[in-house]
């Protein structure tokens, strides 16, 4: 019995040592890109999309720039700020990544913000949309390539007003992103003469049944409801709104992720008629986009979403910046500077980084979900060029 016990113990120790050893093996000459994204849990799909497209961009150059190999190190943020912060520390101090890219959640991004600034690590924001990241909390080390919540929603105020919507009801999830998006729309909508007749926020990621809210929205008499949801909540809201006959009494509008290409397959016809706004729709008619769509479809078997495009652009940006430095990533300040000076022509259209805020300047596409031979698609109604974020209180 004693011998068996100490044998189990020995094997156990050996496994631990082995794991610790293998995890420290890594080449020094590679350019290390740390990806802090959710790879497990409910939003793992978004982490996957961004990573897929980033790898696609790197594949175009064979994972090599100026003679150095590009190495991707993944860290699962688990969509939890405290765990993500820990993983970020590990990526920066143990793995010594040259560039950190991520995150999906704004609260995770804000949690790691002070760390990246203190350690002078170039941080490319691949999704998180909280306004403050490129406003009060901006930094020369933080470059955002995705969007700010204001950027996406503000243009809809005047646009819907012109379209004929006079009154609107706001509905979103009760967390910072939901509230910021509603606020951005509300400000510009009211400025254009619109009136908000109701505003409600559902418990974040804990709402499955929108029944109670749909009742109130229908009775409000508004011309339109303006929503933002993502993930399962987006699917459920659109489907339930359809089953309660909401589109019979008002227009359903909102931030475009609510009917993202990721969710349309589940929503099917219930998404028809939704008017939204996004920084990318698959139906953009440029060669760059058509090429990208084809590559993504071939490799991953589905239509690339706006999340994937952001990941792709991050990849292209890194390649261009590193190329301009001839592969020398030793000066972090210089690397951050080069990253903020890239200008690319991507599937979204032209992208520049605003030198005043380090936030991306990009086009916005207002779309309507209409039917087609391949099922519901996002048809472009309007293109708003070179939208910026005001970047108030940013001292770059």
């Amino acid at each position: 019995m004693g011998a068996l016990v100490s044998m189990k113990y020995k094997i156990f120790l050996m496994i631990i040592v082995f794991i610790l050893f293998t995890s420290s093996l890594s080449k020094a000459e590679n350019i290390k890109i740390g990806l802090l994204l959710p790879y497990s849990g409910a939003v793992a799909i978004i982490g996957e999309e961004i990573t897929n497209a980033l790898e696609l961009a790197f594949e175009e150059v064979n994972f090599e720039v100026s003679g150095r190999k590009l190495e991707i190190i993944r860290a699962d943020s688990e969509y939890k700020p405290n765990i993500a912060l820990k993983k970020a520390r590990e990526l920066i101090s143990s793995e010594k990544v040259d560039i950190l890219a991520g995150t999906v959640s704004s609260s995770v991004a804000l949690a790691v913000r002070d760390l990246v600034v203190a350690t002078k690590t170039p941080f490319i924001v691949a999704n998180a949309g909280a306004n403050q990241i490129t406003r009060e909390k901006c930094s020369k080390y933080i470059i955002r390539v995705s969007f700010s919540n204001h950027q996406i929603n503000a243009p809809m105020g005047p646009w819907l007003s012109n379209y004929g919507i006079k009154t609107a009801f706001l509905l979103s999830a009760n967390y910072a992103a939901g509230k910021e998006q509603m606020a951005a729309f509300k400000n510009t909508f009211e400025e254009s003469g619109g009136k908000i007749v109701g505003e409600e926020y559902t418990p974040h990621r804990k709402t499955k049944d929108f029944g109670p809210y749909l009742g109130r929205i229908k009775n409000s008499g508004a011309d339109a409801v303006y929503v933002f949801y993502a993930g399962g909540e987006a699917i459920n809201f659109i489907k339930q709104a359809h089953s309660f006959g909401l589109s019979d009494v008002m227009k359903i509008t909102g931030a475009g992720w609510t009917t993202s290409p990721l969710f349309i397959p589940a929503q099917k016809e219930s998404a028809l008629g939704f008017i939204g706004i996004l920084n990318y729709v698959p139906s953009i008619e440029t060669d760059v986009n058509k090429n990208f769509k084809r590559m993504y479809q071939e490799k991953y078997g589905r239509i690339a979403s706006e999340f994937a495009v952001q990941g792709y652009d991050v990849g292209k940006m890194i390649i261009e910046a590193v190329q301009s430095l001839s592969g020398n990533t030793s000066d972090k300040n210089l690397l951050a500077e080069k990253l903020s000076k890239v200008s690319i022509l991507g599937p979204r259209g032209r992208l520049d980084i605003d030198p005043k805020t380090n936030n991306v300047i990009q086009n916005m596409y207002v779309f309507e979900v209409v039917n087609s031979d391949e099922g519901p698609i996002l048809k472009v109604l309007d293109k708003i060029e070179a939208v910026k974020d005001p970047g108030t209180n940013c001292l770059l």
């Binding site: 019995m1 004693g2 016990v5 100490s6 189990k8 113990y9 631990i16 794991i19 610790l20 995890s23 790879y39 497990s40 860290a75 699962d76 939890k80 700020p81 405290n82 765990i83 912060l85 820990k86 520390r89 590990e90 101090s93 143990s94 704004s106 609260s107 804000l110 949690a111 002070d114 009760n174 967390y175 910072a176 418990p203 974040h204 990621r205 804990k206």
Partner: protein, 321 residues
């Protein structure tokens, strides 16, 4: 509810060994290792609180993570809204944990066995939901900006990972000595008696309710301390800390360590936490491995690592004598 075999000497030696290891790792480790070590120490405090509650008090709480949350949020509120000194925040949090735990226990110790587990689960989830939806507590985004205690007058900057980890080790030693003393005290003896046969104690005139509630209060106080230190370690707090799966993982830690061994809890916390961390780096499906690991641990580890160490010690003793 059975606890492991009692061996005060071995327990102390094990604790001493663990402390020395911690200090060495702190000195020679890199920036991230020091951080991981800090997390392990805080989790050890949590594990010890669960170990004390289960091993001495005979109560299994599946909602104890709520005290981690209460500790973290209380410290946050005291510091950010009332501008109280961070060190004082931790002290006040401990006292609040003690009182709150005692009061809650007075109500819930009516229930036993699986019912007790369920009601602690529900209470824990109640706190978690409240923290998740309450805007003044930052909701699902949490609150940031929590500072560490100011020891600059001693020439120590606790913002340095090395020094803060030493600070945590001091708290660990104090908590261990405290829980250890209680275990050997009359209160501890009473708890053991109650755990083995509460009716007998009642018939002998002992107040079961008081002792059980007191032990729950003590356990909550230590858990709140762990929460408070965690908030200071990260500089921010979010509701995930109080989710019931954290309580579940804590219970796994004390099973790995050996329920009732106290120092074993520290070892259990270290092993489980490091394994979790390394596994999540290795594969995307680490949750599957972890779940499988939990099942195996629960089925096959009777006395945990403590049991193995005890057997080893007895084996050595036999050889010597």
């Amino acid at each position: 509810m059975s606890a492991v075999q009692y061996d005060k000497q071995l327990r102390s030696y094990l604790f001493l060994a663990l402390c020395c290891s911690a200090i060495l790792i702190n000195i020679f480790g890199d920036y991230f290792t020091q951080f991981l070590l800090a997390e392990i120490i805080i989790l050890s405090l949590f594990a010890m609180s669960l170990d004390f509650l289960a091993g001495r008090g005979g109560m299994i709480s599946l909602g104890h993570a709520m005290f981690l949350g209460i500790g973290a949020y209380t410290t946050t509120i005291l510091y950010i809204y009332l501008s109280i000194d961070p060190f004082l925040c931790s002290l006040i949090t401990i006292i609040i944990g003690l009182i709150l735990g005692y009061l809650i226990a007075l109500i819930i110790t009516k229930t036993h066995g699986i019912f007790f587990i369920m009601i602690t689960l529900a209470l824990g989830e109640m706190f978690h939901s409240w923290a998740f939806t309450n805007d003044s507590l930052g909701g699902s985004d949490g609150i940031s900006g929590i500072a560490r205690p100011d020891l600059l007058f001693m020439g120590l900057d606790l913002n340095e990972p090395l020094l803060f980890t030493y600070y945590l080790i001091v708290w660990l030693i104090l908590s261990y000595l405290f829980l250890s003393a209680i275990t050997d005290s009359p209160l501890g003896r009473n708890l053991d008696a109650i755990r083995q046969n509460s009716n007998r104690v009642l018939s002998l005139g002992g107040s079961v309710k008081f002792y059980k509630s007191a032990s729950f209060g003590i356990s909550s106080a230590i858990a709140c301390l762990a929460g408070s230190l965690y908030a200071q370690l990260n500089g921010f707090v979010s509701p995930e800390l109080s989710h019931w799966t954290v309580s579940g993982e804590g219970l796994i830690m004390i099973i790995v360590g050996g329920i009732g061994s106290l120092s074993g809890a520290i070892l259990g916390a270290a092993v489980v936490h490091v394994l979790q961390h390394e596994l999540s780096k290795l594969v995307d499906w680490w949750m599957l491995l972890m779940g499988g690991g939990f099942i195996l641990i629960v089925l096959f580890m009777k006395d945990g690592l403590w049991g193995i160490i005890l057997k080893f010690k007895n084996y050595i003793m036999e050889k010597i004598c």
